[in-house]
Symmetry: C2
Subunit: 144 residues, 2 copies
């Protein structure tokens, strides 16, 4: 029956499905899914610049600027301009954001677990391998 299963649309659907699960887990914390990657970066090292976040997370600069604006509006971060270079703004977590780290980490783990629940651990591992190949093959596939 299902001879051409159309993998790509499935992935898009799963991405939306996971976003919904994660959003539900994050709602009690007052966080949104899009804020998480930036928060994780800043939890590991506070004071990064926007350019550093853009480089670490694979999003466009404008996307990051907008996400940071929402996070500032929500009282999660402050942007302080560097003394020695007026272009650069270091992103600093507020006490509120620092206090959310443990709970957020648990929420992410719950979301990931719920998302992957239909697969057994061994299958999850093989799935991850395939996805990594796809992700690495997609960008800069040319060359060795």
């Amino acid at each position: 029956m299902t001879e051409d299963t159309q993998i790509a649309p499935l992935i898009q659907q799963l991405a939306r499905s996971y976003a919904a699960i994660l959003q539900e887990q994050l709602k009690p914390l007052g966080l949104t899914p899009g804020q998480l990657p930036a928060l994780q970066q800043l939890w590991s090292q506070d004071g990064k610049t926007q350019a550093a976040l853009v480089a670490a997370l694979q999003v466009e600069q404008a996307t990051m600027a907008n996400t940071l604006a929402r996070m500032e509006r929500d009282g999660l971060i402050e942007r302080r301009k560097a003394a020695h270079d007026g272009r650069i703004r270091h992103i600093h977590l507020t006490a509120k954001a620092r206090g959310l780290e443990a709970e957020a980490r648990e929420a992410v783990m719950r979301a990931e677990a719920a998302f992957l629940a239909p697969l057994r651990p061994g299958q999850q591992k093989r799935l991850a391998e395939f996805l990594v190949v796809l992700a690495e093959g997609e960008q800069g596939s040319e060359g060795s």
Copy 2:
């Protein structure tokens, strides 16, 4: 090193990556990725209602209404109200949209092929099986 590879974010990234590839393939046709699912439904059977499209494609009703509004604006569809029931609007393709079917089909196949290129066919098949399990497990997991 990579003990918890974080599968879900990978899927989100791949979904964005595929969207970019598909968008590039569709651009010459004047179509956008979000219009495709509705178009495919209508190519297979013209005149479906919005409710039928919502049921077939897994999106919210409001999302479909907005997508259809953009498609109407772009001259791809017409919405005609049913004679016997003033609530219902049958969605009909324009000649322009009908003429794009073959090219769009090829564009989708090219996008899918480019996306999956890093994996060999056998791996693609196993990946598809995993994803189907996830997709089916995610929605309505309760019951038999």
